[in-house]
Every structure is written in C-alpha cells, then in structure tokens.
C-alpha cells in the first residue's frame, strides 16, 4: 500500500500524537470521509531563538515570525500564546531547572514523590530531586475519553526514542510515564504491518497460517496475556500499598495489550466511534 505524505501527516507528526491513525489508511474512513478528530502535541524542548519565533503586531493584527512562516496557510486558525507561566513548576522545591518543566507542562502536577497519600504537598524539606508527574498528561486523558477503540489509542513518538530523560512530557497516570518510539522503521512496523491491503475495501486479510514457532506463539497472545493478567491479581493482596499501585499500573498495561492483540486479528477495522 502506498501512503501519501499527506495521509501520514493526517495521523502522525511531532513528538506526541493523540488518537487514531489506522482508520484513515484503512479504506473505511469515518463518516462523511472525514478523519476522526485528532489531538496533536508537538514539543521542541530547550526553546527557540525567541527573536525569530515571537510574532509581531497586536492580537487582532499580527504577523508570523520567521520560524512560524511555514504555517502561513493556517494563520487564520492559529493562536500563538506567549507569556504563559508554568506555576506548577515552582511546586517542586528540590529539583533542577530541567526535570520539572516537561513533567508539569501537560500534567499540571508536581512530582508524585512530592505529594502525600492524601494529595497534599509534602513539605519542601522532603521533596525529591526528580520523579514522574503525579497525574496523567492531557493528551492521554483525551485519548482515553475519546476511546475510539483503535489498536493504538495514541502514538507517542520522539526523536531519541525512550531516552527522553529530562524531557519526560507524557504520563499515562500518576508515576506512570509514557515512553516513546524513536526508530522510524520500528514505528512503521508496529503500526502498519497488519494493515489490510489496498483495494480490499478495508477488509482485513485472514491471518496467515502460522509457519514457524514464533508465528504459532504470537497467535496465542490473547491466552498468554490473560494468564499473565491473572497472575498479577494473585499477588495484589500480599503487597504494600506503593508496590500494589505500581504493579496495578503494570497490570493495566497487560490489559491494554490484551485489548490490542486479543484473539481478534489485528488488522480488522474497528467499528464507528461512539456518538
């Protein structure tokens, strides 16, 4: 199948992308041939050359800057916001200048380690130097709420992949970072390898007959994940509260994978989105 650049950009781009991509390429697009709603977050850490970034003029009559010039065709739909202060950043009292910035930006939450079990902020003397945010980032909340039933609820991509380090922007929940894919070939394989062929009207191909050991093993992902999920449940009662929370978060990932890989062929197009 041939993916046009435009088609691809419709679904993915930038560092973090919320929402489904697969329907747009499956041949069975959403109603009225319009792609589903997407939410895209694109972060360039470490800032811009502000003189070349900042627009000029007044709110009602403004000019794009040099860096924003490629967005000229969309200027009517564009809001450029500046002088926004990230106050939550200041809640972390023992951190360096880098780590809290990305972790608070989309979560509006301090480090999970700076918050007591009852939700109150710990006293500054007890603050950790680093950690993950104490709640989900907005992209993940939106993806969850829209719940389009797609194999990939969000596409989380980054140059440099998992090594986000101080630029850990995305969080699935409190103390639960979203890690990123950074290798384009790997991204392609994970996204498109099971797509229906062109001209098939969006019908998924029948899963190929397993020919070797790994195929036969992969064919049973649903059963394996089901057994693994059950094994988490067998432990929970014996864990302390913070261990339990961490293993519960892990078990949720197993359930997500089960929903994605289940026993249905991966290429099957999903139904329409909820009204």
């Amino acid at each position: 199948m041939k993916l046009s650049r435009r088609m691809f950009l419709q679904g993915a781009g930038g560092m973090a992308v919320g929402l489904p991509l697969l329907e747009a390429t499956s041949g069975r697009a959403w109603a009225q041939n319009r792609g589903p709603k997407r939410f895209i977050v694109f972060m360039t850490p470490q800032g811009f050359i502000m003189d070349a970034w900042r627009p000029t003029g007044s709110q009602s009559n403004w000019q794009l800057s040099q860096i924003l010039q490629p967005l000229a065709p969309y200027k009517q739909k564009l809001n450029v916001i500046q002088r926004m202060n990230n106050d939550v950043n200041e809640l972390n009292r023992n951190a360096n200048a880098h780590n809290p910035a990305a972790r608070t930006l989309l979560t509006c939450q301090p480090f999970a380690g700076n918050v007591n079990a009852n939700g109150s902020l710990r006293s500054p003397g007890q603050h950790v130097e680093n950690g993950f945010a104490n709640g989900p980032s907005i992209d993940q909340v939106i993806a969850q709420r829209l719940n389009a039933g797609t194999p990939f609820r969000s596409l989380d991509l980054g140059i440099g992949g998992a090594d986000t380090n101080e630029n850990q922007l995305l969080h699935a929940a409190a103390d639960d970072p979203v890690t990123l894919l950074g290798d384009p070939r790997d991204v392609f394989n994970r996204l498109f390898i099971n797509l229906p062929p062109p001209g098939s009207g969006g019908e998924a191909p029948p899963p190929p007959a397993p020919v070797n050991a790994i195929d036969r093993i992969r064919a049973r992902r649903g059963s394996v994940l089901d057994t693994v999920y059950k094994s988490f449940g067998r432990l929970q009662a014996r864990l302390g509260s913070s261990d339990r929370a961490r293993l519960e978060a892990h078990a949720e990932k197993i359930r997500d994978l089960e929903l994605r890989f289940g026993n249905t062929p991966i290429g099957e197009p999903p139904g329409p989105p909820p009204a």
């Binding site: 998992a162 986000t164 970072p177 890690t179 050991a213 790994i214």
Partner: protein, 567 residues
Amino acid sequence: MSRYPSLGAGFLLIAVSCSGTIGDPGLPSSGASGSDGPVIPDRPVDPPPPVPACTDPGVKPSFMPTLRLTRDQYTNVIQDLFEGQVAPSDVFPRGIDRKGYSTHPEANVVSLLAAEDILRAAEEVGAQIAESIDQILPCASSASPTCAQTFINTYGKRAFRRPLTRDEQDDLAALFVEVRRDTPFAESIGIVTTAILQMPQFLYVLELGQTTSTSGIVALTNHELAQRLGLLFLNSLPDAPLIEAADRGELSAPEQLQEQAERLLNDPRSQPVLANFFKEWLEVEPVDPTQKNAGRFPQLDDDLAASIDREFEEFIKIVLSSEEDTLDALFSSREAMVNRPLAELYGLDPSISSGVDDWVSVQLPEQERAGVLTRAALLSTHAHRTLTSPVFRGHLVRTQILCDTIPNPPPDANSQAPAYPEDSSPRTRSEILQAAPTCGTCHVQMDPIGLGFENFDAIGAYRTEYLTGEIIDNSGEVLDNDELDTFAGGLDLSQQLATADAARGCVPKQLFRYMYGRKEGERDKCSLIQVTSQFNQSRYSLRGLLTSMVLTDTFRYRTTAEDGVVP
C-alpha cells in the same frame, strides 16, 4: 581460609550499637521509634566499641520498594535459566534514562511500550525454546501433559526463584491445555514460557516473607535470601548451590549467608558483576567515539574505546582478586591490563603488546597514574567532547566518593554564567565562575577538585601542557573538609582519598544504594554502622565489605510499607 576472621562467628562481638554515641554526642537512641534515630557518621570509629549488635526488635530497615529486574539482569537471567541454550532477546526495554543506580524502581517502571517489548522479548525466547525443545526438555518426545508439568515445575521454580504455588502451577497448566488443542507440543511449551517471562513473579524481585505481616516488616524467606545473593553477586538468578541451600532452609543463619557470600566472591562469574557496581558508583559509561571530537582525538577509534572500557573492568578484577583488595588499592594501585592501543594512550612502550588482542599486565607510569581515578574510562566519561570538565570531575569526587551533597543549579544558572576571555584556560574560566555571585557558592566545592585533574585530557591521555603551550597547573583543593586539603594532581588526591575517613564512610553507602535501588533511610542506620565498622576492622577490604553487607538486618528483613521516610 578467610582473610576476614572478624566477619565470621565473631561478627556479633564487634558490631556496634545503634544506641551508642558515635561521632556525635547528641545522638538519640534509635529504638522502636525508628524514624528519628541518629545520623550515620561518615567516618567509622577506630576502634569500634564492643557493644551488642543490631538485634533490638525495633531496629529494622526502612521501606524497601519492590525492585524489577533490570535489562542487564534479564539478559543474565535468560542465559542462566536455560543454561546458555537460548539467546536473550534484544528487544527487552532499556531502563528509563535517569541519574542514579540502574536498580532504582523509577528506572524500571513498565510503560505500555515497555510492556509490549517485554511481551515481544518473551515470544522470542519462547520460540527458541520450541525450536530446541529436545535439548531443554528430555521428556519432550513423549509430548505428554506430565512432561509439560515437569517443565512448569522445573523452569517455573528457577524463573520465580522459589517453588511455584499451587495456583501458579494450575494457571500455567491451564494455559498449556488450552493452547495444546491446536498447537504442537513444542510451541505450547514455548507459549507457557512466554507467559512465565511476563509474570510479576518473574519480573519483580518479590520479597513477601513467609506470612502476611501486620507490622509491615517481614523476615525474608530462604528463597528470597538466595534471590538477593544471586542478584548481588551474579546479577542474575541464584545458582544451584544457593537454591539447594534455600530448599534445605540453610540460609537463615549469618554464618550460612557468609559462607555463600565468600563462595560467590571466589566464583569468577561474580567478577564482571562486581565491576558493574564500580562502574555505576563512579558513573563510568562506555566511551563513545562519536561523542568525542574526532579532529582533536584521532586515535580514539572503536578499538581504543572498547579497550578503555575493558581496562576499567580488568582493573576492578585485579583489585578484587588481589591480596590487597582494599579501598586503598582501588585508589592507589598502578597495576593494569593493557593492549597496544592502551599502551600508547598510557604513554607506555607500545612494543609490550602486539595488538588489540594482546593484553599484558603492566605497572602504569609512576609519576602519572595510580588508582581508579586516573583510568581513561573514568576521565573520559567525566569530560566534554573536546575539553575536560573540572566541574564533572569535581562533582564526581564530591557526590560519589565523599557522599557530599551538591545542590542543583538555580533555574537561572545559565543566564547568570559569566563571560570568559577567548582561549582562556580551564583554570582561568573556573576562577571567573567561582568568583561569580550565585554560581560560585557551589562551584568552589567542585571546580578546585576537578582542576587538579587537568593533566588528563578529555579522553584521559596524560599531558603537561595545553595545546596553546601553556604549562598545566595541577594544583587542587578540597574545601570545607578537615582531612583533605590542597593537593598536587590527581595522583596526590588519590593518595589522600585512599586513607580518608570520608571516602571509607561513603563507599558502604554507595554499595547500599546500588543493592537496594534506594537511598539509605533512617532505620537502615544500624545496618550501615555495622557494615562501616566491619569495613574498618577488615582494613577496608572490598570483598569483606560485600560479605558484611549480607549479614545486616537490611539484607535479611524488609519493610514492605512506607514508614514516613521518603525512599
């Protein structure tokens, strides 16, 4: 046999009390109140007062979060689990990039992507099991359910580091029966393997104790102690003697733990594992030639980079296996293993080695290098692409070797940074920085130490002058420290650190943080005082330090719930 008789049965006699007054006369007693106990002194006392051990029932470790197998551990575990017949998958997730030890829970959080990669890694292993089922499972030709049960019990026990519970056996057997309906026997076993390798009983270092505890403190079971010993000394599964000892219930007594620790220390498999602790402690990372200025360092090719990494490991092995396996030797030994590229880098006669694969034992140049701080691996990690970094090097000595705390730079640090004259030397730039308001307060703690290492360039080659022809001034100073003072060059500082109480008190803490994936808490004081005191008794033997670690409360007990101390 043991060179550390004081660590044997006599250890109870020499261990110091938590309620004594050590270092600080104002220390309160650390009884059951726990969380507001005394501060662990950075310096051991000599001689330690002969007072009772930490057997007070109130003294138990601080909260210990459950750890997850690191990527390195997973790799070793897969190799050991199937006795080298299966290649570990490369897709198992890397740890999340963060400062600190690889064992820390935050480095090993399982994101959705990580869970998917753990699944894929497990499938790759499962496929290999299916392909070589006859070698792995002798009864496989029978293709019987009994044979599947044998696999589940045998490999399940190794994988979980303890016998399976009835529920766990039943779950895995049910999976086998379900998939066996339409899957050949070999692949069905591969599928069961795929499940085992994703279960929390495999992925997490579970330490639940024998019974559910109301106090939140559990005594580790024999199998859990075997698991800790396996991770500490092999970075992997407990080996057969450990499992057998655990099966027989012979790991509870301190002498039994000590015997196993000494056996493992003498096992060559433990050497690369222990070298890994020293790498993480001293923040030594593999040298990457692309991260250095190729024009400035044309000699740094892949061969030299790999040789630099290996030389560091070889040095740790030399120290740990020698009669003088001491902290002193770590900081002052001139012994090294080098090949030809390293001989050139270290200013030795290159003809002593015929090439990259010809490793020879040498003494490093007497006036230039001695000890771990002067090895190329450490010096090049703590440097920039082209220039050295007195800040990185000073920070390393402060935080990792002296256990001092250097606060984070203020948010506006960059905008506060002063301007430097063009072509000024690192010392000139650093002096300007130290004099700058805001910056100076912290940089005076680090830079004067790092500047003493200016004889070593950004890949660790020795030099006496800069490219500009300026003669290098290698004088350094450790401010605000009453036993370390001014020094002339890294060699001199290494000699001072070799016998500095601050370093002797810091190393046990660093090993603690590596082992437990957390900082020491208030209630770990007793264990750490005991270890530090024994370290002193053994004349700072590093092998003795490792052994004494396993004899502590913190090693044998676990607090399973947060006790108000931030982990």
